[in-house]
Structure formats: C-alpha cells, structure tokens
C-alpha cells in the first residue's frame, strides 16, 4: 500500500486520472494536487500526492523496472 511510484497521466476526467505505469493503466484520484494530462505524478494508494519532473520520473521508473527484474 505504501509504495508510491511515478506514472504519467494520460487522461483526466473531473478528479479521476488514468495513470500509465509502463503500459499498466490505473485510476488515481487528483483531489489534492492540480494536475494536467502529460504530468508525471507520484500515486500512493490510489491518490496523486505530488507532481514529479519528467527526468526524475524517468529515473524513478527505471529504478522500479530494475527492482522488478531482481
């Protein structure tokens, strides 16, 4: 539950965002962060908690990919 990973917003309807994690799409609530389509975000337990810069997001995505491969 307490794993916040970065993903990219590909769709936003009201406060519900579709967030792409390397092809896995999940819904996340955008009620406490102002976001737009294309933003990279940290999602924790279904809630967007922060925007992340693109380079940071890519670096972190790489980390999570590596962890998955271990």
């Amino acid at each position: 539950m307490c794993v916040a990973a970065p993903g990219k917003i590909i769709e936003l309807n009201d406060n519900i965002a579709k967030v792409d994690y390397n092809g896995n799409i999940v819904n996340a609530n955008a009620g406490v962060v102002n976001v737009s389509v294309g933003d990279y975000v940290l999602v924790h337990a279904g809630l967007i908690i922060q925007k992340v810069s693109k380079s940071e997001a890519q670096q972190m995505q790489e980390l999570f990919r590596e962890l998955e491969e271990l």
Partner: protein, 345 residues
Amino acid sequence: MQIDKIKEYLKGYDGEQCTIMEVCGTHTAAISENGIPNMLSDKIKLISGPGCPVCVTVASYIDKLIELSMLPDTTVVTFGDMIRVRGTEKSLRDVTAMGASVKMIYSPFDIIELAKSNIGHNFIFAAVGFETTTPIYALIVDELIKNKIKNVKLLTALKTMPEAIMAVAKDNDKITGFLAPGHVSVITGYNLFCDMAKKLQIPFVVSGFSGQELLSSIYALTKLKGGQSLNMYTSVVTNEGNIKAQETVSKYFKPCDGAWRGMGIIKNSGMILKDEYKDFDAGSESLTSDSMYNSACSCGDVIAGKINPNNCPLYGKVCTPENPQGACMVSTEGSCFHYYMNKRL
C-alpha cells in the same frame, strides 16, 4: 560528490558508531533490495522502524474487522496485506471460509462505485495508514457526503509519525540518526522533520528511495550533528508539504491517541473522524488492546527497533512469508518480510 566516493567512504567508515533508523517500510524494502547493509562499515548499523501501517495495527482492530465481516449484508473492503494478518486468533482470510464477506481492492475510491451499485448492502473500509494515506479517506468521506451515500463506513486505525518517532527515540538512546519517511514528508513537508531534529537533538534526513539516494542520505547522517537536518528528496518534498491534502484531512479528522503494536498507546499519534462525521465510523474508538497470535512473536520489538527481525526466535523457522506468524512477515512493507526475502543480516 560522486557515488563511488560515497560508497568508498561508507565501507571504510571508522568514526563514531552510527545507528540509523529507517522509519518507513518502503525505505526498509529499498534498502534490503539494494543490498545496502552490505555496503556499509560495521560501524554503521541500520535498524527498521514503525513505518509499516499494517504491522503496527493492533489485534483488537483485526478482531473488529472480522466481527464486522460476519454481519449479514456486510462486506469488509481492504488492501491486500491486511487480509492475511491475524488478530487474536484468526485473519480475515481465515474467516472467509466461514462465510465472512471480504473484498480486496487496489484503489480506495472503487468503494464509491461498489456502494452505488449495491444499495442495501453495507461496506466497511479497513482504513489504515499514515499521513500519506489519510487524505484519500478524507476524500472518500467527502464523496460519500456529496453523493448522499449511506452504506459505507470506515473502521480507522490511522497513525501519524511524529509522536511515534519521538517515543522510539526516547526508548532507544543508541539511535544517532533518522531516515525520515519520504512519502509521509511529501504530505507533511520537510519543516516537520527539521523541528523534530531540533527537539530530539538527533539528525534527520528526508530521503528518496533509489540506492544512490539512500546511500547519499546515510552518508549525510554520518556527517550531521545534533539538531541538524537535510532534505535530499527535493524533487517531491517541499518545506510545507501538500497543503491541500493537510486541509482535506483536517476537515474530516481530528487527532487522537493511537494504539501501536509493540509500543502501546502513544498520545496524539492517531487520527479519527470528527464527531460530526461519526455516522461514517464503524466503531473505531477503543480498539486498543493487542496480543500476539504466537506468544513468541517479537513483532513488537522489531517495530520499535529494539531487535533485528533475525533475532526473533520464530524468524525463518516457523515464521516465513508462506506461513507468517506476525504482521511484519506478512506485509510487503514489513521488515521481517524484507529481511527474509533479501537474506538481510
């Protein structure tokens, strides 16, 4: 500073003994998976802290979830880890075979659609977590009110970190530094941990989760003194934190005393729905008593950083991820689970 220089420094460190607590369960996971303990000198010891929300939840809370799951026309909705954690005797998974209704979800907001499409059926959300998770529960209550949904209640065991960290620090004078919980810091802000460092006169570093970030933060903790602190996760952690999240939580929740497995009741270390929103509470007050399913389980001491998981007599023998005796071996944020999976010493 180059990461190679940091690695060289940490492996060859020969200064004063450092005991650093990684407060957050996700830090414990990242430290274990990156093999970081093996990259450190014997004079730098890492210990896990109380930052796994499922692990710190007391038995009476699980027992109450089980009781609610057995009621007619009622379903307990929860994140996955909670299903396998035992209360006094049984877990939610155990009682599903006895007719209990338990549903696992990945996104808390799914409960809104569940409730709308099952009018007449009651849903109880097992609302556990720290500062990072409480905002989503506040948003759920907000949505329930806006949509006049009456068939959802929360059973809360929500915790806040500062008082728990203070309690751990007062109980363990060997701790020389804290890796502050990174994602909690996103919500609370860095300033909170600056203040704690000053109060405790122990350094705090807010760290990210990559191997490089963690090594850099450990390096910093060997250098910082007394009440100093540092934010090394500036890409997402601001001084003030997420104000909107803080305001949303304050609208619906108030501080309360929290019951922590292994640490007892810690004043002002929990959050509970305000009196005006009690209609959405499934009976969270007074769930403070605790017991271990296996009396030899040392989860309490592990959570408080008093022993390493592998010092528990059950660890790796009768307690494994396949057959966990305590919550710390169940949860994917539990320190016993990660010590075991990564053969951490």
